[in-house]
Symmetry: D2
């Protein structure tokens, strides 16, 4: 079970859906960064359940407590531990899950690996686990603000099923994304997407989609080839989120249709800076940020829990059937937007510290 992430800005998340709580320890935060619980709470509120009519009605306030690592409002350089207690337990909603494997969930795989699982609410495989990531990333964001001022990370819903938002990643604002509960960057499409999610939920069904994200103002030079390319670390970070099935950067899969002559990004000078005319590279070349906007997309599958009876097998290895119960998102994307931003911030913060170690001020 590997619940740590990062080489220098290192986080260790913990916690199951039901139990004492969830949280994170961050080991590697620079000292003297201003930090309060409110900074963290703001991001947790964006990912908490029950926040709007397109998310699960499970009602968790998800109030965080900083247990260590700060003093008089700033970081100490020592580990920052953050705890969020679990509150709205309803383990009884899951009792059938103790005996049967939910299709397209982690239940069987966990049993196959560990020989045991906490079946209450998915245990460690619950998306509740991402609270620790989002909390840690709120701190990473504070570090980025200080060490790379001007850097911006914005994610938004690009598609829900076949519904596609029109968004210019170079100009979309966080305010626009937050202005609608589905968190798309295209307000004109928001209502249609919201209605789709409501309809599909009414049917006991679920939908997926694609989240696009942009990093603006990233300094050139972040990323460490050959294995820790910036886009490779972004890929891992995103695919480590629950329910993800794909990642692409810049031209992505679509770019494979072009020829090199069509695809290449030509360099030119602008205001003393090296720029590219197009940005099919997605802001990263050879594994290193080139100063253009970093643009990537993440595919999220439809939520596995649906309110229909489905064939499955039991823990005792017999064929059976199971119908979803409990409180679930019919579409994870609105709440996954802050998770995508969180993982991007963790990757960037880690690489920024690495860059400081090796390359800056030599």
């Amino acid at each position: 079970m590997s619940s740590h992430y990062g080489q220098l800005f290192r986080i260790s998340t913990f916690g199951e859906s039901h139990g004492g709580g969830v949280g994170v320890v961050i080991d590697g935060c620079p000292p003297r960064i201003p930090l309060t619980e409110a900074d963290i709470q703001h991001e947790l509120d964006r990912r908490r359940p029950g926040q709007s009519e397109v998310t699960t009605p499970r009602n968790e306030a998800d109030q965080c407590e900083i247990l260590s690592g700060t003093f008089e409002g700033v970081t100490l350089g020592s580990p920052i531990s953050i705890l969020v207690r679990n509150k709205d337990h309803r383990p009884e909603a899951y009792s059938e899950m103790a005996e049967k494997y939910r299709p397209s969930h982690a239940d069987y795989a966990y049993d196959a690996k560990f020989g045991i699982r906490n079946w209450q609410g998915g245990g460690r495989s619950s998306a509740r686990e991402t609270i620790g990531r989002v909390a840690a990333a709120a701190i990473a964001g504070k570090v980025l603000d200080q060490l790379a001022p001007g850097i911006e990370v914005i994610a938004y819903v690009k598609t829900i099923q076949e519904l596609q938002a029109e968004v210019d990643p170079n100009t979309v604002s966080a305010e626009t994304v937050e202005s609608n509960i589905v968190r798309t960057g295209d307000p004109a499409m928001a209502e249609t997407m919201i209605q789709r999610i409501k309809d599909i939920r009414s049917d006991g069904n679920s939908v997926g989609g694609v989240i696009e994200a942009v990093v603006r103002g990233c300094p050139p030079g972040l990323g460490e080839p050959v294995f820790d390319r910036l886009e490779a670390d972004l890929a891992k970070a995103m695919i480590s989120l629950p329910a993800t099935k794909g990642f692409e950067i810049g031209s992505g899969f679509g770019g494979t249709q072009l020829t090199g002559r069509e695809h290449n990004d030509h360099f030119y000078m602008e205001d003393g800076r090296v720029r590219t005319k197009t940005n099919r590279s997605g802001g990263v070349q050879g594994g290193i940020s080139n100063g253009e906007n970093i643009i990537f997309r993440v595919a999220f599958k439809p939520t596995a829990t649906i309110m229909s009876s489905q064939p499955t097998v039991s823990k005792e290895k017999e064929d059976t059937k199971l119908k979803g119960r409990g409180r679930h998102d019919a579409c994870v994307l609105p709440r996954a937007v802050p998770m995508v931003e969180a993982m991007a911030r963790l990757v960037l913060c880690d690489h920024l510290l690495r860059h400081r170690a090796f390359c800056e001020n030599l």
Copy 2:
């Protein structure tokens, strides 16, 4: 510069396109695994330049030497160091690259990061770097043979531009893939793809495409949620390969169009084994292999080097033009097939050792 990969089966690659040589040190190979240079050479021959009429004519024999870590034909448990000398140097072909940044290459980004680069043949950003990976993965393959007998890793060209191969990942054989120089799993499409690459090369242009890979016979239980999910580590491994722009597993981006009811993989029992009726999960659930075939796809952009004059900027930050020279693949995919297999083997071997540490024989 992060050139190490793996938690337990750890590799450290080294080397530039031009210089003393390229290679790898593997620290973490179990002892008493049969291993000869021929085992490694076989895989290196599949990725070497000059192997066929659809690859670069650069002619490197890429003969490997095992410098340490074996004794009387088996591994010692000590680090295995493998060296491949560089031979067919033509640095003069690159002299213009010393002064100008090649579009969509790593040149500018390396300079921005390191303040220096070896401009001969791309230096460390050359695909020649992957020799170390392929050599290490040949050894990973031997470890897998011993510890997880029956596991098979097969990659093949799925598309070249819009040309799409029809391949059943559940049955395609390595022999079929090797039977054609483009390394597609669909022999009926091979000639068309080969002709496309030849045509595009004649035009001084380049093309990309998609490689699909399947892991068959993988035991359930590999992968370590939450960050080191098997698919997250595969994503990172693949996107760490040069020229990649996307990764998807199972249903991937296409799966975002389906509803949960359509998408879910139902469990059933077969011969005492838990199976799924469909495999949109791609062999991984909750970050852990579930015993089904692991199926994923990787997008490769068209080769950046083309034989046309393109606008760019110079090291002195002036607008200029540059025309590609040197010997290059007009399409990287045929040689990328063994690289994709290599990275998959490295991921699997590392996770297999991790699984042994934590979960087996408790």
Copy 3:
């Protein structure tokens, strides 16, 4: 700030002397290990302040709470988070320390490194930090019990200043050590040592000494040359404890007086097992356990806090004087005994898991 330890059995400790609490996250504990809070509490009680008349009167119950990672009395394989709240705060006792550096303490060095420090009770440099280690090691002990049954780790006070205990590491029992509050393995010496500590405390002074530890029943084969030799990892683990100044294994510094002919441990067969006649190697050869008892010693300096006025400098870099206040151990050794055992268990557990990954059942 590096507060994580271990390659596979990984722990991340957190917490300052004064603040929300201290604790640890363990990521890498095998699943299905029986574990309750009582298992952990037992070891915490051995290191807690106020436990006897030779320790600091600071009174902390140090009650632990397991926040995650267990289910129905066994481990899940997911991260185990343990929290101990701070209770007996008296920050006012430290107000002068906000302005002045305590001699031979970490105060100045922390300021030099971080530009900030939590001056309440030493903050992160307080020995209170070791709670997380001891809690994690209680779990490591449970893992060892299961995977290497028969392994025993026993530490005891060997010397207080020049007072030397006579102890046979091959036979000393945990009960003997716990039978006296100074935790020496030589009950005949206990009263003298206790009196020495009381006398020195009455004088406002402090003393140090040497703790010896033995690991009995360790299987041969643990340790990973060349850098992660078992004794190297033990050395690091011990010297990472507060107030330590030296480590030696087997013959140690004294062995440098012998010739090779006197020093060598001759092998012989006993009951089908390879044994050594003497054990100057200390149970480790070439960095790997050889099946003999592992015996090492750790030097602890006299407690830095004394109740005398001493010259020092202020935060504003002016010469000044400071007299110790607060509640402190006049001798850290009795409470350091469980810390030494804890670090040894963490090292052994980590290496046992590593050995399982690479070498067992091949």
Copy 4:
């Protein structure tokens, strides 16, 4: 088998005593550091066998080759691979060792762990392995020169058996140490020590001793509590060297005899710098360098190989006898001096890079 060291300045050593060669890959060296093979060769010459009449007559030129990572005389920021070929093979001298375990050597332990060993010259457990360390540390030294100019690392023989050198660590020069072949810092004692080694060798016996080292000019702030304290990492680094049995810093084991009042280092101001009147802390407080000289000592046991017949057991687990053959140092200390310096430089360089990442220029 763990042959990598360092968090940021990461080295991976490889190679056995007999085989293709030994060497190292350094991944994490900053770019644009001047570096030539001569820089490395100078340090290798100090550790090579056959350099003087008090070292083994095995004659290895130990010429190094830089295979990668430099360009036009400076580092690229990419991995630096260094190879030293093995030349003076005499495996026949070791044929008996194939069947019998050398007392106080690693032979049995390696077999117990790996189930195999390269018995030629000790294989991986040979001190020849330290070539990679010394080569890497030569580069670490260049990095230190650039990033922490004025830092000096000097080791010297402090004792041979009971023969004790009088050396002031605050003033001893590298020239003084190199002026005598035993590498003591006390020229007046050199001849006595040399004669002792010659005498003991004539007798087919061996001796050990203590090496002391000093780091002068180390900036305050290096070291990362709580686990990666500077002295803990030094302890591990030193005890990872072959033949070591103990480590102490500052007052060390002797300091345990003092009271706190005698032991404490009082702070005072000198030329605007915080200094300590005494230096029993050994230049490190709370795990962090405090700007005073870092002074530590390492115990080396007498060489295990002696020219006498000793009882031992065979690979087939039968009692037998074995007499040392081959070419060996009767005392490892003269050649261990550059190894101790090497490990210290690796620790310092790694911590300097870490400090840059987290704490500098915030």
